[in-house]
Every structure is written in structure tokens, then in C-alpha cells.
């Protein structure tokens, strides 16, 4: 019976902890941005004139349809990560889009209007080479897929395989291209490097080999890029070394070698070291390609050529030109060419493909972003205007993965920042104060210059404040009369200022492509962006906030450490996180690989925290390194410790700073790599506050927490992956003394391990290989009933090891990332934010992860509000903080405190970005949105007047009585 009472009590208490977004709160303080990644294939739907569809396939294995008028997503399909979901080819015909996925594993056909899957065919194994639509008698009916050793033909409407044929001599010949001109034949082109080209001719109906021939081509190194089929089955190749073009009619039997045309005869020359590129166009797969083609001779030189009567004639030379592309609308094929105009702009012009003549009034001016990269891809959407002339729009992709959609005469219709699909790290920075607040702030900073001027100064600033307040009130009043939707004012970089509760912050995001973004956390607007050129693709980024906004008039300062993964060599990029401007502070050169960075609480005279960079010779570089800083470092050197992790040798070592900024090794822990390898090391967050030192027990005694700020959590995984013997090791190591505070092994467990280390606890998730499920485990450390030294914590003086409590739970869902909420003062209870592969973010109360959850409930545990132990962790759908706004491929969660103790700002990033606020203990310091001000004030006023009136009445009555 008691059990039932407790259950009831628990369910009632859960009623309180249950939190979810109300319907009218949707989108009020949260937003989501969806991305697709770097575009690899883009096709405009030219099926009908009014179509707005733009189909894209990206390197993030995303296949999506964009609205070409707005840039919004119509639909998006996110496939598996890695090579399994890699999109090899995208073909479109009419309403159907055919996609080859996973190195030729699957062939799928999508309906493009709603994004529904029409059919899917599993293909035979073999690495993918090429795919093409095959037409017969002006009608496209088949799709052919070329693998390394076989070719298969599939029906376009049903996906059924018509035939599959092995390719002859596929172990020596590299087959790379398919061509069909709509005449009932499929040509498969392959070559033997530096020897000859092989052409195999298949009959479409039954896959019979009609003809097979090989043609001498000793110069050939690759078919794919240097060859193209043009004008009713002429193979055209270009070679850089012999500086020649080669042609060969595919069907004729008498030609046994390719005809060589020296580029010199056309007055052309390929730039040295440049691999020339041929671009042809086949507007309709059921018809032969056009006789015109582009030849790119150098990075900024294209030429339009034509093959006519076996002769190649230049139509138009584009020098200089960055990009060129063909587009077809109806019967007309045009070529768009981007040429540089001046330093900051390019112009795009349209030329008719068959003559090379320029179309009049077709110039689009493309302004290059000074903080962006160079354009590298051009996609053209041509359409016929009412007067039968050709109009066009273009989409430009740049190096920094920006997609810009332009129309004449250069208006940017929309822009997408696809670099944000791959956010690596981020920080949130407070916005600056408004001018008036700063004025007041500045007053305190100044030195006193007499009593009277100070009084005057104070009065004037108070007056300014009053004025600002009045203006604010007026604005509030004014806005209140307008409908809500029209109030929304645009956020620009000039109007940025901190709000009352510091809920709006600047999100500084670093992306893998080396582009930095400053995003307003309230609306998701990109306020600034900066592309860092020459970033190696496998760089490691570390973003450090050296100076916050709190030190007016000094601007805030962020430092980005860019480190090459292979060499470890790094460089620093210092910038202002609010405006994105590069700072002019001189940055120390880092000639040696950087092993570790350390942000000290020591500040220089400009209030910037000192960053220490430790190189591979254990030498320390300080940044900033002014005299003041070096002096301070000398004074505090003996209390500056840092640790290094060498996971390849399993070595953790501790160092102490010396006066002369050299270091000395003071401790070493070696975890043998034969048994286990270190997978992650994490300390605690520096900006975390813990409000209560201990926990009040049921008997009113206090269990003190072991709050060691230097504690490191080291997670290892066993090298033996056998499911019975594999384990996950958990080491809690003091980063100053190297003392192993706790050491535990989770048997029959495997990674990937996700963990959060905070306060006095560590929560980790692992895969139980025996029961095949995810499990949560929580470790809490306590000092015991009394504190050793309650005034100050020192790692050097804490001789007694802490008590460690641990408990594990089953988590009935997969996990992709884990983070804990963070609030200003740490009073609010903590929640764990669990990112799931399904795209949901679960806010799990830490209350459920408490190793003191009792097996059997007692009076004392009830007193403590402990939930009785249950092995399975509940997942309630109202705990999903992002309701239906799922985040694809969650990679990280960032939490930041706001000015309100109850509120924690959360940013989830992966393929998408989602920002919201969470209230782990409800909004106990905020009046709710629909708080009835009118009722409460009318009651107040009513009472006030009632008192006044009754007082008056009482007076009258008294007077009357006195007269009586």
C-alpha cells in the first residue's frame, strides 16, 4: 500500500517536472535552419515553364528539392553518412529523378513534386563508374548503369532490370563512360592506360554486343575528364602533353586510329600544368549531343568550339572567363559565361550555343563577397520568355559553399550558406551594451576629478537613462497598438544590443570549410561571415573567448586556433565576435606543432585573458605576451599546471610552468595501449557555477560534494573487441597532481562513449555488448559528511579520496550526443540534453540519474525527493525540447547560461541548426506570457478605490453619529 502511495506521489511530482512547449509557444523563442551541404549535382526542372524546382544532391548524402524562387526546401532526403549513402549520380527526366547511391549499390527513382520514392532497385556489386539515360526514338525509356565489370539497363518507369552484361576484359580495361545517341545502341567506352581505347557497342533490346573495337591512344591517361562525345557520336579527347585534340567517329568501322588535331592549328595553347577540360551538352538523351563544346585551357580561359564536317572551328574565345555552362530551354541551347568585371564583381553573359553570338541585354552582374570565396560552379536555368527570347537565372556556388541565386540584372534572389551544414565548434558571446548603458558603465571606469563634476556627471547620465527609458516606454506603447506580426523588426549589426535578461546572444560558429559565422541567437539571422582562405580540409579548430563584452570600451575578442591534423602546426586568427572583424593585434608565430592550449584567468591590462600555447618541445607561448602579462605569469608560474594526452602511447602527463616560461614534467600516468586506448579526455567547463556545496540528507545531515575543478574524466576502450571481454574504462584523474581519484571498468561494454562531466558527477553512455542496448551510468563523488577544507579547494591538499557512488540504467534509444544544461548561478536543477539519431533532443532531468536512488523506499529517501530505482530510463515525448523540429545528424549541443537563472540557451548543430531555450526548473523567475495584468491591476485599483470610498463613507457615518 505504501508503495502505491509513493507511486502516486511520484506521478504527481512528475506532473510538475513534465515540461513541454505549448502550441502557441512554437517558434517564439526557437528556430531551426535546414541545410544540405556542398552541392555536387544540381538540376533545374525544365519540364514545365512554371516549375520552381531545383534538384540538388550534395556531399552530405542529401538529396533535396529547393524552391528556386525563395531558396527554401520543398523536401529533403537525408541518406546514411559515409560511403554507404554517397550519391554517385543524379539524372532527371520529366517528373522523375534517378539517383545512384552508395557506390552503385542502389538505383532509386524519385517523384520530384513531393519527393516520394517511385521505385528502388538493388544493383549487383561492383564499383560505380557512370550512369546515363537512354532514349529510343525520341523517347527516354531506360537508364543504364556502368560498373567496373558490368553494365545493366533498367526500365525508367518501373526500375526492373532489362538486362545485365559483363564487360569484356574488364580486368585490364577501365570502362568509364556510357554514351547513347538514341539510335538503339549503347556505347561503353573504356581504355587501357597509355595504350588504347576500347569501344563496346550494345544493342538496347537484349544487350547483345554488336561490335567491339580498340583504337590506339598511347597518350591517354583518363577518359572521364578529358573526353566527351559530341555531334552524333564523335568521341573527342584533349591531351595536354601533345597539345592536341583527337576525334573518332564511334560507329564507323574503318577508323582504326584517332585523328589528331594540333591545338596550334587553332591558335590555342593549354596552360602549363593545367588539365584541360571538355564540356559538351546533350539536351535530350534520346538525341545526339550538340556539335558545340567548351574547352577550358587554363583556370580562367574557356573557348567555345564547334565540330563541323570533321573540322573544328572556334566560335568564340572567352579570355578571361572563370566559369562556363550550357543550358537548354525548348529547342534553344545557350551558353552562360562568367567573366571578371573588376576586383569585386563578375558579369555573366548569355551566348547562343550554335553561333557564339551574344544575346543582347542578358548581363547579370555578380558581386563577389569580399569576405567570401571565389565562385567555382555555375548552374544555369534557361527559360523562354513570352517573346520567344531566352531568359535565364543562375546559381553560383563559391569555394565557401555559398549558393547565390541571381536573376537579371544582378538581383540576388536568395542565398544559402551551406557551410553551416558542417559546424565544427561554436561559442556564444554576450551582445554589447546599448550606447546609454555603456555611457553609464564608462562613468564608473573613469578616475574621479572632483566632487562637483562627478555629481554633475552622475545627474546627466541619470537624465540620459530617464530619457532612454521614456523612449522605450513610448515605443512599447506604440508597438502594443500594432498587430504582432508587423512589430518584428529586422536585426542588423547596427541595432545589436543586449536585452534585459541577456537572452539574445551572438553565436559564433566555426565550420569545417573555414568559414566563420556570427548568428543572432534570437532570429537565426547571419549577421556576419568571414571566409578564411587556405584552410586545410582536415584542420582542427579551437575557439577561445579571450575577452567578453563585459570590458567596455575594449571590444570583445575571440581567438581561433587552426591546427593541421597531420602536422599539428597551427595558426591563430583573432577577431571581434560581434562584428566579425579581424583584429589587428600582432599574433605570435607558431613554428612548432601545438599540443595543448590553456586559457588562464590571468588578464592583461586590456582585460584579455591570457592564452598559453604549449608546443611539442613543451615550450610555452603566451598570447597576449605584453610585459605586464609576462610579469604576472612569473608571479603565478608555480601554480600553473597543465596536462598533455598522448593517446597513441596511452600517456597522460602533467607539467608545471616555470618562471622562465619553460615547463617541467611533474607527473606521468601510462595506460598501456595493448589493453586499452584513450578515446576521450574531458575536464569541466570553466564557466560552470555550483550553487550548493552539498546535499541535504533525509536525516538533515549534509553530504558534501567533491567539487574538484581540476578533475579530468578519461575514457578508454579496450583493444579486445570480443563481446565478452570488451570493456570501457573510466578514470577520474586530478589534472594537477596526476592522482587517480577513481578508476572503474564497465565490463562487456563498447563505445562509442558519450559523456558529460560536471559539478561532482560524470554521466556516460555506452553500448552493452552482451545485452545489445545502450546504457547510462552516473558517477557521483562526495567528500563525506564533513569537508576537509571548506574555504578553498586545492588539489595539492586534499589527501582523502572521495566516496564514489555509481548506478546504471538502461536507455531504450540510440544516442548521438550528450550535453548538460548550464545556468548563471547553478541554482536551477540540471537536465541532460540527449541528441538522438532520430533528430529529437531529449531533456532528461538529472534527478533520474542519481546514484542515490534507493532500491527500497524509506522515510528518509522520501524526505530527500529521491525517485525509487528503476532500471529503465523513461523517455517521455513531452521531454523532447524540439517537438517536431527534428535536427538531422546531431553532432553537437552547445549550452550557455542566460541572464535569467531559470533559462538556459541551447544550440543543437549537425546538418541542421536548432536554437531554443530550456527551463529545467520551469520559469520560476518569469511571469508567464498570458499573465493577466489587467485583472490584477483592476483588482488592485478596485480595492484601493473601495478603501478610499469606504473610508470616506465611514468618516461621514462617524460625523453623522457625532452630530446625533
Amino acid at each position: 500500500m505504501a508503495w502505491l502511495v509513493v507511486r502516486l506521489a511520484i506521478s504527481l511530482s512528475l506532473l510538475y517536472t513534465a515540461s513541454a512547449v505549448f502550441e502557441d509557444q512554437v517558434g517564439k523563442f526557437d528556430w531551426r535552419e535546414q541545410f544540405i551541404g556542398k552541392v555536387r549535382f544540381a538540376l533545374f526542372d525544365t519540364h514545365s515553364q512554371a516549375s520552381k524546382k531545383l534538384l540538388v544532391a550534395t556531399d552530405k548524402n542529401v538529396f533535396a528539392s529547393l524552391n528556386s524562387r525563395t531558396g527554401d526546401l520543398f523536401w529533403r532526403h537525408v541518406d546514411k553518412t559515409g560511403p554507404e549513402g554517397h550519391i554517385d549520380a543524379l539524372l532527371m527526366y520529366g517528373q522523375d529523378a534517378v539517383v545512384v547511391v552508395g557506390n552503385g549499390r542502389l538505383l532509386r527513382s524519385w517523384e520530384t513534386t513531393v519527393g516520394g520514392l517511385k521505385w528502388e532497385a538493388v544493383l549487383d556489386t561492383g564499383s560505380f563508374q557512370a550512369a546515363a539515360l537512354i532514349g529510343v526514338q525520341d523517347f527516354v525509356k531506360y537508364v543504364a548503369v556502368l560498373k567496373k565489370s558490368a553494365i545493366s539497363l533498367h526500365d525508367l518507369s518501373s526500375g526492373s532490370q532489362i538486362w545485365v552484361e559483363n564487360l569484356p576484359d574488364s580486368d585490364t580495361v577501365q570502362y568509364q563512360t556510357i554514351y547513347s545517341g538514341g539510335n538503339g545502341l549503347v556505347f561503353v567506352l573504356g581504355f587501357v592506360p597509355s595504350s588504347h581505347i576500347v569501344i563496346v557497342e550494345y544493342k538496347i533490346e537484349d544487350g547483345e554486343i554488336m561490335k567491339k573495337k580498340s583504337v590506339e591512344a598511347a597518350w591517354m591517361s583518363s577518359l572521364e575528364n578529358s573526353c566527351a562525345v559530341i555531334s552524333s557520336g564523335n568521341l573527342l579527347c584533349v591531351d595536354q602533353i601533345t597539345q592536341s585534340l583527337y576525334t573518332l567517329p564511334l560507329q564507323s568501322a574503318e577508323h582504326t586510329e584517332m585523328r589528331q588535331i594540333h591545338l596550334q592549328t587553332l591558335d590555342l595553347e593549354v596552360a602549363s600544368g593545367f588539365q584541360p577540360v571538355l564540356t559538351s551538352t546533350q539536351p535530350n538523351p534520346a538525341q545526339p549531343p550538340l556539335a558545340e563544346f567548351f574547352l577550358q585551357l587554363s583556370p580562367d580561359h574557356h573557348i567555345l568550339l564547334q565540330l563541323k564536317d570533321d573540322l573544328i572551328a572556334p566560335l568564340r574565345d572567352f579570355n578571361p572567363s572563370y566559369l562556363a555552362a550550357f543550358a537548354t530551354s525548348g529547342e534553344k541551347t545557350v551558353a552562360a559565361v562568367m567573366t571578371p568585371k573588376n576586383d569585386t564583381a563578375c558579369s555573366i553573359n548569355l551566348f547562343s550555343a550554335d553561333t557564339g553570338r551574344r544575346h543582347l541585354d542578358t548581363t547579370i552582374i555578380y558581386h563577389m563577397d569580399p569576405n567570401g570565396g571565389k565562385p567555382n560552379r555555375l548552374y544555369v536555368h534557361a527559360f523562354l520568355k513570352k517573346d520567344d527570347s531566352v531568359g535565364y537565372r543562375v546559381m553560383v556556388q563559391t569555394e565557401d559553399l555559398t549558393l547565390t541565386f541571381l536573376q537579371q540584372p544582378g538581383r540576388v534572389v536568395w542565398m544559402r550558406e551551406e557551410a553551416l551544414a558542417d559546424v565544427v565548434t561554436m561559442e556564444m558571446v554576450d551582445l554589447p551594451l546599448t550606447g546609454t548603458q555603456a555611457e553609464l558603465e564608462g562613468e564608473f571606469g573613469k578616475k574621479a576629478d572632483g566632487l562637483l563634476p562627478m555629481v554633475l556627471k552622475r545627474l546627466s547620465s541619470q537624465f540620459i537613462l530617464l530619457q532612454a527609458w521614456m523612449a522605450h516606454l513610448w515605443k512599447l506603447f506604440y508597438d502594443a497598438r500594432k498587430p504582432r506580426s508587423s512589430v518584428k523588426n529586422e536585426v542588423t549589426i547596427d541595432t545589436l544590443s543586449r536585452d534585459e535578461f541577456n537572452l539574445q546572444k551572438m553565436m559564433v560558429m566555426v565550420t569545417a570549410s573555414g568559414k566563420l559565422f556570427g548568428i543572432d541567437s534570437k532570429s537565426g539571422t547571419v549577421l556576419w561571415k568571414q571566409y578564411l582562405e587556405d584552410i586545410q580540409p582536415n584542420s582542427i579548430f579551437k575557439l577561445i573567448v579571450q575577452r567578453t563584452t563585459a570590458h567596455f570600451p575594449h571590444p570583445p575578442q575571440c581567438t581561433l586556433l587552426i591546427k593541421d591534423k597531420d602536422t599539428g602546426l597551427g595558426s591563430l586568427y583573432v577577431f571581434n565576435p560581434i562584428f566579425g572583424k579581424k583584429s589587428h593585434i600582432s599574433v605570435p608565430a607558431l613554428p612548432r606543432p601545438v599540443l595543448q592550449t590553456l586559457l588562464l584567468p590571468v588578464i592583461d591590462q586590456d582585460y584579455a585573458k591570457v592564452l598559453l600555447l604549449i608546443d611539442d618541445q613543451y615550450k610555452v607561448t603566451a598570447f597576449p605576451s605584453t610585459k605586464n602579462v609576462l610579469q604576472q605569469l612569473q608571479d603565478t608560474a608555480s601554480s600553473v599546471f597543465f596536462y598533455l594526452v598522448d593517446s597513441s602511447q596511452g600517456k597522460l602527463s602533467g607539467f608545471r610552468l616555470r618562471m622562465d616560461l619553460s615547463t617541467e614534467l611533474i607527473w606521468e600516468v601510462v595506460i598501456p595501449t595493448e589493453v586499452q586506448k584513450i578515446v576521450a579526455v574531458k575536464g569541466k567547463r570553466a564557466n560552470e557555477h555550483v550553487h550548493s556545496q552539498g546535499r541535504v540528507m533525509g536525516d538533515r545531515s549534509v553530504l558534501y560534494k567533491y567539487l574538484n575543478p581540476n578533475l579530468l574524466a578519461v575514457i578508454t576502450e579496450s583493444t579486445d573487441m570480443h563481446q565478452e571481454r570488451s570493456f570501457v574504462g573510466i578514470f577520474l584523474i586530478d589534472g594537477v597532481t596526476g592522482r587517480i581519484v577513481h578508476e572503474a571498468v564497465q565490463r562487456k561494454a563498447r563505445g562509442p562513449v558519450h559523456f558529460v562531466h560536471s559539478e561532482n558527477w560524470l554521466v556516460y553512455v555506452y553500448w552493452n555488448s552482451k545485452f545489445r542496448r545502450n546504457e547510462f551510468s552516473v558517477l557521483e563523488l562526495f567528500e563525506g559528511a564533513e569537508l576537509y577544507n571548506s574555504t578553498v579547494f586545492s588539489s595539492l591538499d586534499r589527501p582523502h579520496p572521495p566516496q564514489v557512488l555509481q548506478q546504471s540504467y538502461i536507455f531504450p534509444a540510440p544516442i548521438s550526443t550528450l550535453e548538460a544544461t548550464l545556468t548563471e548561478k547553478g541554482i536551477t536543477s540540471r537536465h541532460l540534453l540527449v541528441g538522438m539519431p532520430s533528430g529529437n533532443i531529449l531533456s532528461l532531468p538529472k534527478m533520474f540519474l542519481d546514484p542515490r536512488r534507493p532500491e527500497l523506499i524509506s522515510e528518509q529517501s522520501r524526505e530527500e525527493n529521491l525517485i525509487p530505482y528503476a532500471p529503465e530510463m523513461p523517455i517521455r515525448t513531452e521531454w523532447f525540447i524540439n517537438y517536431n523540429q527534428t535536427v538531422s545528424r546531431v553532432r553537437g549541443i552547445y549550452t550557455a547560461p542566460s541572464g535569467l537563472e531559470s533559462t538556459c540557451l541551447v544550440v543543437v548543430y549537425g546538418l541542421d541548426i536548432y536554437q531554443t531555450r530550456v527551463f529545467p526548473s520551469k520559469q520560476f523567475d518569469v511571469l508567464k506570457d498570458d499573465y493577466d495584468y489587467i485583472l490584477i491591476s483592476s483588482v488592485l485599483f478596485g480595492l484601493f478605490f473601495a478603501t478610499m470610498i469606504s473610508k470616506r463613507l465611514a468618516e461621514v457615518k462617524l460625523l453623522n453619529r457625532a452630530w446625533r
Binding site: I666, G729, S808, K922
Partner: protein, 257 residues
């Protein structure tokens, strides 16, 4: 100055030699003399070295020998010499400049059957402030940590008390003999979700429920008039006055932490 340094080096070398000699011969050192003797054949020993220098450049010399007994848990004893007059003085000088007292042991495996493949490249080191060692009158706690397969992965040293208050240690005798507590700690096995006891408990509950359905039924029958209004009230307040109710809950949660 230089001559003194050379002299100290020679002396330290000499002391190591004497220590090594004493170790193989009779053991008149440390606290557990008797224990140390009978470990000679069943286990093996590992040198424990220490270093304390004014210039803070580590120069390790032998402090004692860690004697392990194969198989048994915590079967470790430390046989160590007492500090010489010179060492005591150095120790006090190092403590005065807030220098470090370092110890190290070679990387070994504690499993007896692995002794043949014992790899001795590299050491694991730890430190403590010399002043705290002096002020605690050489009372230290040394813990050796091993991994699952018995390799020593870390060593830690703490003194009790661990603080440095600047108390002068007058008596030379206090700095002669180490009062060491030594132990070997192997990793603990982390708990797994305890499903079996939970199910058992649930079954017991069910049984209890099954045994006296009378009482079970009568509970609701007896208290429904209290429960229903309470639930209704809570639900109403929960639904209507969300922030107000949340404040109570939040404070409760916050306090409970």
C-alpha cells in the same frame, strides 16, 4: 657550490649502492620488517625512487623497494631506508623553497605469470609538495593503481595532513623514518542496470497485491474522496498556473540537488 653538488651526487650514488646492498641482505628498514623478509621468494620487488632537489631538477635515487606478493590482493609492502642526515637537511631546504618531492616506479605488471614479459621502459611519476611532507613528519600514503590486467598505470602520493602551514619541524627525529601507508588499487567494476532485483521486487508487490485484494481495494475506497480532489486540484493548477506551480517545483528541485 659546484663541489658540493658533485659531493652530493657521489653521496647519493653511494647511498644507492648501500641501499641495494642492504636490500639483498638483511632488511632492517621500514615498519614491516618481518613481512618483508618472507616475501623474498614468493613475490618480486620493484624499486621505489624519490627525488628532492633545491634546483628542482629531478635526480632520482632509491628510496625503498616495493615487495609484491603474487596473487593476493593488496599484497604489497614497502621496505625502505631511513633518511640520512644530509637528506633530512636537503628535504628541509627544499621545503623552505616550496620545492617538490617526487617519486617514481618503473612500469611493471603485477601479475606473477607476466613477470617474464615485464617491460621496464619508462616510469610513472608523482609528486607532493616537500613542505607538506616535512610538516606531516614524513607520513605519506602511496597508492599504486593498476589496470584490469595488472599493469601499474599510476602512482599517487599524498601526505596526511596535506597542508603547508609553514610550521617549523624542530625535531630531527621526525624526519628520519617514513611512516608510509601503501596500497594497490585495482579498478572497480562499474555496476550494470539491476533488472533482476527490480523484477523480483515488482513480483513481490504483485504477490502482496494478490494476497489481500481486500485491503488494496479498500485503500482507494477509503481515500478516494481525498485523492480525487487533490489530483483534480493539482491538475488544474498545473494546467492553468504553470509558472506559479513551476516555481514551487523548481525551488524543490533546486533545493534537492
Amino acid at each position: 657550490m659546484a663541489t658540493i653538488r658533485v659531493l652530493s651526487l657521489i653521496l647519493s650514488v653511494l647511498s644507492i649502492i648501500t641501499l641495494l646492498w642492504t636490500q639483498s641482505g638483511e632488511c632492517n628498514n621500514g615498519r614491516r620488517i618481518g613481512d618483508a623478509v618472507d616475501t623474498d621468494f614468493s613475490g618480486f620487488s620493484v624499486p621505489l625512487e624519490h627525488s628532492f632537489e633545491i634546483d628542482d631538477v629531478p635526480r632520482f635515487r632509491l628510496r625503498g623497494a616495493l615487495q609484491f606478493r603474487g596473487g593476493r590482493e593488496n599484497g604489497v609492502y614497502l621496505a625502505q631506508n631511513q633518511l640520512s642526515e644530509k637528506d633530512r637537511n636537503t628535504m628541509k631546504d627544499v621545503a623552505a623553497v616550496d620545492g617538490l618531492y617526487r617519486i617514481r616506479v618503473p612500469r611493471v605488471s603485477l601479475q606473477v605469470d607476466r613477470q617474464t614479459e615485464r617491460q621496464s621502459e619508462g616510469y610513472i611519476t608523482a609528486f607532493v609538495r616537500a613542505c607538506s611532507l616535512v610538516e606531516s613528519h614524513l607520513s605519506d600514503v602511496i597508492t599504486l593503481h593498476t589496470d584490469v590486467s595488472g599493469n601499474v598505470i599510476g602512482i599517487s602520493i599524498v601526505t596526511i595532513p596535506g597542508s603547508c602551514r609553514g610550521i617549523e619541524v624542530e625535531d630531527e627525529v621526525d624526519l628520519e623514518v617514513f611512516n608510509t601507508t601503501i596500497s594497490v588499487v585495482a579498478p572497480v567494476t562499474a555496476p550494470v542496470p539491476e533488472t533482476a532485483p527490480y523484477i523480483e521486487r515488482m513480483e513481490q508487490e504483485m504477490e502482496k497485491k494478490g494476497k489481500n485484494p481486500q485491503e488494496q481495494k479498500s485503500f482507494f475506497a477509503k481515500y478516494w474522496m481525498y485523492i480525487v480532489p487533490l489530483v483534480l486540484f493539482l491538475m488544474m493548477s498545473g494546467a492553468q498556473d504553470q509558472s506559479g506551480g513551476g516555481a514551487g517545483g523548481g525551488a524543490g528541485n533546486g533545493g534537492g540537488r
